[in-house]
Amino acid sequence: MNKKLLIPLAIFGVVFAFLLVGLGLNPREVPSPLIGKPAPAFELKRLHEPARSHGTADMKGQVWLLNVWASWCVACREEHPLLVELGKAKIVPLVGLNYKDEPAAGIQWLRQYGDPYDLSVIDRDGRVGLDFGVYGVPETFVIDKAGVIRYKQIGPVTVEALEKKILPLVRELQKS
């Protein structure tokens, strides 16, 4: 074969490979720099009992999930049935961060769609969400016994993500 013909072919191959990989990437999924770092500490009012607070300190020593949700968040409804099931299974404590929401609306939403959370806390102005690098609700964090973020699910939790990533990771972390 003519050697000169190989050059455009090679260039085409490289460009093709780059574009092919690019197609498979989701630009909305920005890798979080927080993975492997301690979860930002917070202490917030509980949604159902505003007189009491709850925070990262209370979860020390156990593996837990932090799910960022809001009543205005449409995609949250998508993952919600799955979370309700997860809540029933009692595999791992699930804490809800009611992000930039009206507490009354949040409570109403949980009444309507079911409350999978061990408890939810109120992040009225989204400051804690900002500390967690939240940019697209819903988001779910897996936090280990030492309080380190081990995984972040951006967007709704899917059956696939739950069974292939989140739950195996939780089980592994619970063992250690």
Binding site: P31, P33, G126, L130, D131, G133, Y135, G136
Partner: protein, 164 residues
């Protein structure tokens, strides 16, 4: 007297009308953050930060909720006396380098920064090779006397006789 008073009243009215917007502007409360130096600094910082919701906009341009929050964060931190560097670090700690509109030069971004230069270098190399090859081409074989005669005839504009 009345003849003079009317134009004067008109003039005063016109003047008042012209000044009205100014008076209104003075009425609006100016938030402290709009002190021009701080404002300029905030905007400069905001123009460097990407809104993660509408990814092709800076937080200065975007109206997304997140951009509003991040702008508030920038302004609060300026008010708290943080340096620009500290504010940028605050953002990258939470959102990663992606939040920077201008990606930092790192091992992982070398291709991004070096890519255009690399392509330019490849293009120049190809051009140089092409020119060298052209130079090396042997000169065209000299014209035979008949060919020369024909060419001269053509150039002179004389009609060709050897039409076949």
């Amino acid at each position: 007297m009345r003849m003079v008073a009317r134009p004067l009243a008109c003039l005063l009215l016109a003047l008042a009308a012209a000044l009205a917007p100014l008076a209104h502007a003075a009425d609006t409360a100016v938030p402290t953050e709009q002190d021009p130096v701080t404002q300029a600094r905030a905007v400069r910082l905001e123009e460097q930060l990407r809104c993660l919701v509408c990814q092709n906009q800076t937080i200065a341009e975007s109206d997304a909720d997140l951009a509003v929050d991040l702008r508030r964060q920038v302004r609060e931190q300026i008010a708290a006396g943080r340096t620009d560097e500290e504010i940028i670090t605050f953002m990258t700690d939470r959102y990663g380098d992606f939040v920077l509109y201008r990606p930092p030069v790192k091992a992982t971004t070398i291709l991004l920064w070096g890519g255009p230069l690399l392509l330019l270098a490849i293009g120049l190399a190809m051009l140089a090779r092409l020119i060298r090859e052209r130079r090396r081409l042997p000169d065209a074989a000299p014209l035979s006397p008949e060919e020369r005669a024909r060419a001269e005839a053509l150039l002179a504009g004389t009609p060709r006789k050897d039409k076949t």
